[in-house]
Every structure is written in structure tokens, then in C-alpha cells.
Amino acid sequence: MFEDKNKKFAVSFALTGLVLGLLLTWQFKTEVPKGDTFPVDEIDARKDLLKSFLDEQSYLQSRIVFLRNEIEKAQSLIESRTKDVNIETLDKAKRKIGLSVVEGEGIEIVIDDSPTASREGANISDALLVQASDIRDLVNMLNAAKADAISINNQRIIAQSPISSIGTSILINNSYISPPFTINAVGDSGSIMQRILNEALLPSIYKRSKKGEIRFKADPKAFLSIPIYNGDFKANNLNIVK
């Protein structure tokens, strides 16, 4: 009886030791990815620097759209004078890469931060802010619903458009955009709405929207106009197989 008790004690002691060992290993194997801090005294410097970059960016983007329009006019003149150019082929290629305006029915999504949230400061709660990943999920879902063209705050989204965040700033086509984010998509509004209303496809957005952490709404629209892409194209590393 006494030996049985000792055995049981030894076994339970060994088991406890094993569990302790496992927990210790688990604890020390857990790697926390490195994050950065956001010191308060950087905020003002950041604001000033950003403003100068963003002013230049807006000017350059509107200049690009202006130059593309001027080029189009000049190309039409050339076409009337020679048969060596095929503007139809050029237009077709432009449509494929987002360099033509797309109009038609579609849907408008508005997603915004919580009214109590601020994107500036030291104590920022991620849950109260729209994240770049929320916008990427929405754009992916719109593409899956076969939207013909998409824009965010009037910026045309193409396949190569990065939607990223650095801290609390959201960059689309590497340009800074601020909330509220208005996402327009031209396409079959019925099928797009069906997907948007499916909470299982956008679990994080619906969960936070229901808790009042972010604001989210989608409406069908009879007419929307999606502008041309106003960024740069790089193809210097691409060669066509002849």
C-alpha cells in the first residue's frame, strides 16, 4: 500500500516535470516578430516631410493624366495622316492595362475608421482603423466577383497596384490616401452585392463593423466612372518571346 503510494507519487511527479519541461520549451521556442515603436516626437517631423512628398505626388499624377490625354490627341492626328499606325491596337492594349476610363453600373463601398480613432499619436488601436489588409480583401473580393474596373478614392486599381501600409498610413499605388476609403467597382452590381453581403467572405470587416470599431457600407450604383491609372509603368525587365 505504502509502495503503491510512492509509485503513484513518482509517476505524478514525473508527469508534472514533463508538462513543465514542455511548457518551458514552448515558451522559449515562441518567437515574437520584431516590431518597431512609434515615438511621439517623430510625429511632427513626419507630417512636414510627408506633406512635401504628397504635394509633389499630386502634381505629378495630374501631369501624367494630362500628358496621356495630349498624347492621345496627337496620336489620333497621326493616324489620320498615315496608315502605318494602328490606334485601335494601341487602344486595345491600353484598355487591358487600365489606361482607359471605364463606365457603367456597379457598386460603391465606403469603409472608414471609428469616429473616435486617430491615425496620429502614440496610442493607436489597430482595431479602430481600417487596415490595408481590409482594402486588399475587398479588392480581391471585387476581382473574384468579376468587376471590370476598380478605384479607391478615385485612384484606379490595376493588377500591379500595391495596397500597403506603413504604420497607420495607407498607400495605394505607393500614394498616400486618407479615410474614408470609397471603393468604386464597375460590373454586375447584383453579383457583386451578393458577395459583399456574404459575411463569411469578409469576417474581420463584418466583425469590427458590428462592434462599431469601423464603419462599412455598400450600395449598388446605376452609374460609376472609373478614371485611368495615373501612376507609372515599369517594363524594363520584361521581354516578349518572339
Binding site: 516590431g35 517631423a45 495622316r81 499606325v85 492594349a93 489588409s133 486588399r136 493588377a159 518571346v241
Partner: protein, 207 residues
């Protein structure tokens, strides 16, 4: 003897309880950090904007040159042909080749992470990207998740290993993706037991 045992058990229980609490707090901390987006970095933000402004200045200069070449009929024809060729390279209608990287992910990941990885590839300067041979273009459908959890793209179910090819500056792409706290670290932290390999390629071909 019994008293000693009771003390041992009490001490061990306290240690065990403390470890369980530390462990659970540590996991909460990890979950808070494994966000799909990177954390704040003022210098990175400025670097991205500076580079983008330079790209926009280059694009403006290129367009100004195109516009001036349209004033002469001979150079205009060449300028239009060059423009068509550039757009054709990007459209996905033609087979293209160039230097780049090939990434292989062995293990199951979910479609939001695929979206994120492709986003990072374009953000890092990729000029063409495909996944398991399917090129991502303006005409690609988005990633869908089927009821059994499979990932569906352009009418095809994607299965591991997921191979992402990207044409662009290979070193720049590799450095951007492999950075500490970058997309690879975040994928590894979210999916245990996954292996990710990356190779630089002198020539990649993409349909």
C-alpha cells in the same frame, strides 16, 4: 512525509500555474503582432514616397518625350509601336521573360496571405507575377476559397507547393521579401511547419 509531499505539490502547482499564465499572455502578444500589415516605420514611409515620386518623375519625362516625338511623323510611328509593345508586355497576352525570383511555399496557406504575398511582390517592384503558372493580370479573377478550404484562381484549384514567380530586379525583390518582420516572417509565424524557399533566377519565362 505526507506534509513534505503536499508542499512539493503546492510548489509545483504554483510554478505550473505561473507558466500557463505566462504562456497564454505570450501567445496573446504574438497574436497581436502577427498582423497582415507591417508596423510603423517613418523612414520606410519616406523612402517609399521618395522612390514613388522619382518613378512618377521618370514616367512624366517619358511621356513628355513621347509627346514631342509625335510631332514628327517618322518618330511618331516608332513611338506608337514602342508604346504598344510596352503595354503588351504588361497585359499578360504575350509570353514574357526576364530576371527575377522564384518562391516556393511548401505547406497550406490561406487566400488572404496569397493576396498579401502578391501585393508585396508588386510593392517590391515586380513587373510580372504568376502563381503555379497562372499570371496575375488585370483580367485575373481574385482568389476564392472553396467550401473545403481549397484556393481557387482563374478556374483552377491551387495546391501546394505554391510557386510564385516574379520578374523584376532579383536582389531587390529578395531583400524586400526576406526582411526581418517581413511577409515571409509573418507567414511563418501564422502557419506552423511551413517551409519557404526563394531562388534568384537569371531568366524566368511567363505565359
Amino acid at each position: 512525509m505526507i506534509n513534505k509531499r503536499k508542499i512539493y505539490i503546492l510548489v509545483i502547482s504554483i510554478i505550473l500555474g505561473s507558466f500557463i499564465i505566462i504562456e497564454s499572455r505570450s501567445f496573446d502578444a504574438v497574436n497581436d503582432i502577427i498582423l497582415r500589415d507591417s508596423k510603423s516605420d517613418v523612414f520606410k514611409e519616406i523612402k517609399v514616397l521618395k522612390e514613388e515620386n522619382q518613378n512618377l518623375r521618370d514616367e512624366t519625362e517619358e511621356l513628355e518625350n513621347s509627346l514631342s516625338s509625335l510631332s514628327n511623323q517618322d518618330s511618331a510611328v516608332k513611338a506608337i509601336q514602342d508604346e504598344i509593345e510596352k503595354y503588351n508586355k504588361l497585359s499578360g497576352d504575350y509570353i514574357v521573360y526576364g530576371p527575377g525570383i522564384s518562391i516556393s511555399i511548401n505547406g497550406k496557406i490561406t487566400s488572404p496571405w496569397m493576396v498579401d504575398l502578391i501585393n508585396e511582390l508588386f510593392h517590391a517592384g515586380s513587373q510580372a507575377v504568376n502563381i503555379n503558372g497562372i499570371r496575375i493580370t488585370n483580367e485575373s479573377s481574385g482568389f476564392d476559397t472553396l467550401p473545403k478550404g481549397q484556393i481557387y484562381l482563374n478556374g483552377t484549384i491551387l495546391s501546394p507547393p505554391y510557386v510564385f514567380n516574379a520578374i523584376g530586379e532579383a536582389i531587390t525583390l529578395q531583400n524586400a521579401l526576406s526582411a526581418s518582420g517581413g511577409i515571409f516572417d509573418r507567414i511563418r509565424a501564422s502557419f506552423g511547419g511551413i517551409s519557404i524557399s526563394i531562388d534568384q533566377k537569371d531568366v524566368l519565362e511567363m505565359k
